[in-house]
Symmetry: D3
Subunit: 268 residues, 6 copies
Amino acid sequence: MLTSRQYASMTVSIMANILYQIPGDMTAALGAGELRRREEILRRWAAPGTSVEVADSPGGPLSIESAAEEFLCVGSMLTALSKRDDQPDAVIIGCFGDPGLPAVREVLECPVVGPLEASFHLGAQLGRRVGILTVLESLDPLMESLVRSMGESLNYAGCVAVNVPVLELHKEPQALVDRAAEAARPLVEDRRADVVLLGCMSMSFQDLAGPISQKLGVPVLNPARCALRTAETMVALELTHSRRTYPKPRKAVRGFGSAAVQKTASSS
Amino acid sequence: MLTSRQYASMTVSIMANILYQIPGDMTAALGAGELRRREEILRRWAAPGTSVEVADSPGGPLSIESAAEEFLCVGSMLTALSKRDDQPDAVIIGCFGDPGLPAVREVLECPVVGPLEASFHLGAQLGRRVGILTVLESLDPLMESLVRSMGESLNYAGCVAVNVPVLELHKEPQALVDRAAEAARPLVEDRRADVVLLGCMSMSFQDLAGPISQKLGVPVLNPARCALRTAETMVALELTHSRRTYPKPRKAVRGFGSAAVQKTASSS
Amino acid sequence: MLTSRQYASMTVSIMANILYQIPGDMTAALGAGELRRREEILRRWAAPGTSVEVADSPGGPLSIESAAEEFLCVGSMLTALSKRDDQPDAVIIGCFGDPGLPAVREVLECPVVGPLEASFHLGAQLGRRVGILTVLESLDPLMESLVRSMGESLNYAGCVAVNVPVLELHKEPQALVDRAAEAARPLVEDRRADVVLLGCMSMSFQDLAGPISQKLGVPVLNPARCALRTAETMVALELTHSRRTYPKPRKAVRGFGSAAVQKTASSS
Amino acid sequence: MLTSRQYASMTVSIMANILYQIPGDMTAALGAGELRRREEILRRWAAPGTSVEVADSPGGPLSIESAAEEFLCVGSMLTALSKRDDQPDAVIIGCFGDPGLPAVREVLECPVVGPLEASFHLGAQLGRRVGILTVLESLDPLMESLVRSMGESLNYAGCVAVNVPVLELHKEPQALVDRAAEAARPLVEDRRADVVLLGCMSMSFQDLAGPISQKLGVPVLNPARCALRTAETMVALELTHSRRTYPKPRKAVRGFGSAAVQKTASSS
Amino acid sequence: MLTSRQYASMTVSIMANILYQIPGDMTAALGAGELRRREEILRRWAAPGTSVEVADSPGGPLSIESAAEEFLCVGSMLTALSKRDDQPDAVIIGCFGDPGLPAVREVLECPVVGPLEASFHLGAQLGRRVGILTVLESLDPLMESLVRSMGESLNYAGCVAVNVPVLELHKEPQALVDRAAEAARPLVEDRRADVVLLGCMSMSFQDLAGPISQKLGVPVLNPARCALRTAETMVALELTHSRRTYPKPRKAVRGFGSAAVQKTASSS
Amino acid sequence: MLTSRQYASMTVSIMANILYQIPGDMTAALGAGELRRREEILRRWAAPGTSVEVADSPGGPLSIESAAEEFLCVGSMLTALSKRDDQPDAVIIGCFGDPGLPAVREVLECPVVGPLEASFHLGAQLGRRVGILTVLESLDPLMESLVRSMGESLNYAGCVAVNVPVLELHKEPQALVDRAAEAARPLVEDRRADVVLLGCMSMSFQDLAGPISQKLGVPVLNPARCALRTAETMVALELTHSRRTYPKPRKAVRGFGSAAVQKTASSS
């Protein structure tokens, strides 16, 4: 082991093209600039040799704050994926609720990563019970349903909301950190979460997991970064989902048109 | 109690308008006649005073045989629901996998019934472990995920498929009964199902639950009929879903337009 | 679908003879009038074509407020059933704790419905977690044991008691509604029940589920009505319990005499 | 530690009066001699200072081979207990299905032991998964319901039956051992039981657990002996059941008359 | 049954040599006198015919207050066991966290009892949910992990700590009883424990379970006494662990030397 | 996104010193060359900027094939860790059974990764049920106990063994792949594993996961590579374990001496 933390520069040729697919229509909601901003952040977070592209799903919901939007966005997301000319090595679903995760896995050959799933499975390696801090209280039943479906109920401490309007999330980072830590405290103390997931992509892209963790005293995970690392791992280890769990559709999926992704799907 | 089974005719004024909403585009797939045929059957099954309408979801998948289609159909189903001028007293989602059940509950005020959920909860009152007999083996992981999310894993015996192509399902009822009973036998004998759900709407509308049950020796449930009875019960008991589990979306859901259903949703 | 809510009268010939069998000796406790009163209410709740008879079990407990009485009543209930000359199409066990449910299923051919089981399975279709509001705190462990045995622990929020003496339950409905809603509030807010069952037949026959629900803000289910609807459904769908879960006793059950019900049991 | 296994005789004054209460009417079924025979065997198994009495429940079922009889016997058992003049220090319910266990705990002050519960909890300390070998296949669902209610589903391997008529159980011990081991083999090999309970009091009183274990290669537990040891332990440690789980009935239980046991119950 | 509690003296020849093996180096920590004191207490608690020896593990931790020490002690404990010349009939691991339980079972032929496991399985027969009262809050995650591994999560109410420094535990018994009961109250009232285990060997050897129980109103179990009774039962019933769960190591375990225990292990 | 897979070389300055700590005495068992061989392989697998050191634990077991060795190795592993002069950024426990994982987390500040835990949580993102393919059948109960403790029982399909002596594992890779795939087939087909973990470090370092997966038709994970990626992720995201689950020992752990690791532990 090197005794000092100085490393020589190295030539890197490992590569992973990772697509961060936002299931809603973020361009319509916040402008294309927000996509570029998130892409830039993800690239900064990415390992050497990883290329990241952020895309959204035209015609999809402006934001995803309900089970209805969780389902509705899947159509536009699959359409957006089907229109691509090139294929990524891995896809991240750019929304904490992992909308359409089994659907996308069915139609694609490459690994598909959900931020909730990826951060939950990483968090479960840091402490006994994992809790979720979201923006909206109304997402609580949806989170619980996803956790149940993952078979993780025994490791789940529940979900609390930070009660800050989404639009104000960007205003004062320090105030947000304070309120987030305060909101998460009963999750830790009363419902005994040992680890907390930041269940909100806006807070994740502000990279506030670290400061909130410091204030709260337990690990806080940024699901965007967890998903990115997990996608890189899947590519590096040449892993993809089991066809026994996510079988390839036997017939063409209507509206999942003529483009590249589907070609991949049907060629194998 | 009347000693004979002869009852006088009675005047009935209880009423329930029930909408059986097929989430795919059945008109495109099988023609409008199939909708009318199913409507007629449902009306025959309905209690006195119940009115049933069958509708489908234009632009939706031609059939639902994958998780991808389970998700994809929700958009067209919500659109179809949002375009209605009148409001039903209850909605049945016309597909065994209960696609979009939480989404539809969120946006509607009236009770929403899923055939899988309704038949599972009825079946669990007839025997310890409930199994599912489907047409396609590939639906097994989807079924298990739904059962997990329902919190019913302990009561679940698993899923087997009757290997008959859907198009041949209509040909010879007796042969189908034989093959279905044969396919379900290992579910009963090896995986110890005490009750079986007919996980397929085509077989349900052929009303083969009775003959298969007779051959198999355990209760076999027709999920279409279970869902219809459950919808009638919800209306009669003036029950609808808890807003703590299915909260009303805080903002308008994009694409869930200007029509009657949404008006209901936003007026309350 | 009919555009107006006016329906013509219809001739009904579907029929179900449903026996609501009270497992205790209500005649001794409250007089035969109470049986007739409950019969009348059930008939009002019944669907067209349903005939309801209420019977009790001479020699059984005066009321059922302990596990001891839950067990003790089964003998007199089976005796009462065995002495009948005619056979019902379905039996409802007229007590929220479903006493002797597996025993009655074993000896009878027709469907047997328990109010707890029926209302729990209906309630689980309205929200994630079901809670129980009883009169007596001491019934909490019994409720939990039944829920465990049903395999529904994951969907259970627990049990709270309304702390009103049973004899005062009838005095002031509005005060009772207020106290019941107040008692149930911690069940909803602290233990996160999304749906509540009215775990008490006296409150059920006062039909207070609606007003309590309105006050509490979550669905509240009347188990007597749920059981009645479920019994009607079982008859309409020609379903009865699985003999794999409730096998027919191989030999005559002592004290389950010579009467009609047993004849049925031994003839099949 | 003594290096040799020779111990001097000791004066023993610890004492426990243990009542082994058979819930059925064994005198009517097999004659009073069978009670004496079982009493003698239990005394042989008992620790020094333990006194054992075997009693049965006049008017109860002749044998307990169904859920119906499991419930039915509780009335005559409680009656028999209520008529006693003296009080035991602990009660064992003399039937593998632990009939009425919560009921007897409610009305008695002293510890009450069930052979299934006692042997399951001892067996779970010998291996991961516990299985049950019964005489009758029809008891399988009852066993599973009891195991669920105990919260032991995860530790349960299931139940198999040795297909020997009860009356022939006494004929040839060696043949019975062979058939029992053969019947239990799939429980061990296919369903992966690591420990087996002898779910049958007749086989238990023939003390065949040892020989079957030797043939089968896994520990086999005699529930009568396990229950006896557990009862002795409860008395020695001055433990009895929690009133939070088994609350004392608030009012006199009808038919649980005027005798000694009830006096105890009502005096505290 | 004897009507009086006077028994004649009896000659006892049942015998069990039980080794209470402390996994740490208690001699180094508290002096050899403490071993002798505990031995004397255990002998007082033992049944007639039982011989008890207390031994510790030279070189092991001075006390066991962390997961690290739970693991670390196993090496010295196995070494101590391997150096013995004679063989006990049963071994009790003298620490509430049952350190190394599966390891000791693997290498020994005789039954091995863990105080947590033994008292949990006894406590589960006294009430629905079992809670643990420890000295150190930091042991909570370890307790939960052990309970999970035992498959007892559903029956577990959690763990609270008494917050009295271990060295002060011996000072004033009455004050300790008061503080222990006070510390356990939220476990009973908020987390709904119906039974409490005294998760601390120091408190166990002060035999405070009885007084705490009286103050707290629920059964409180002394795990040392539970383990002793369970060990006696295993010997009396000639039971030992299943080799399917605790297989004998195929090769000699390094450091588990040449002594008697290993000889037993390798001879069978 | 780059359209071609050609990337320019990049300068890398991210860095992680990862220690792969073998808990046994591999030098004594296989020679120091094997450590260097594994180190070289891990370095090849590592991301750019990661430095890997492989160390073993002098005095520990020669191999770890039993629960006894799982426990025994922890002492020598902690000793080896305490003697280091420098601190790694993350530690991987170099054995599939994750021996001592909670213990090492308690005493260290940096993240500690277990190959079983890391590969299970990655595998659970690729399919519903995860199974384990080991070399020794006797490890099955240990695996199950670890899975239970992780709270992953619902996602676990079980464990099967490839019956090849460890020494022959290196001989013919192709034959080993064939036998491994054959051994795993019943795990996939009968016990319905959708994903398989290679529960054996020797097979992992031969990098046979890919070929076995191809033959078996489901994803097969190499736990050494999964652990390495997870350790890199923990370092990159600046995450370490929650002190609520793995509290820092309050006092010095005996035998966990004066060296660097402990200094870290006691300085914070």
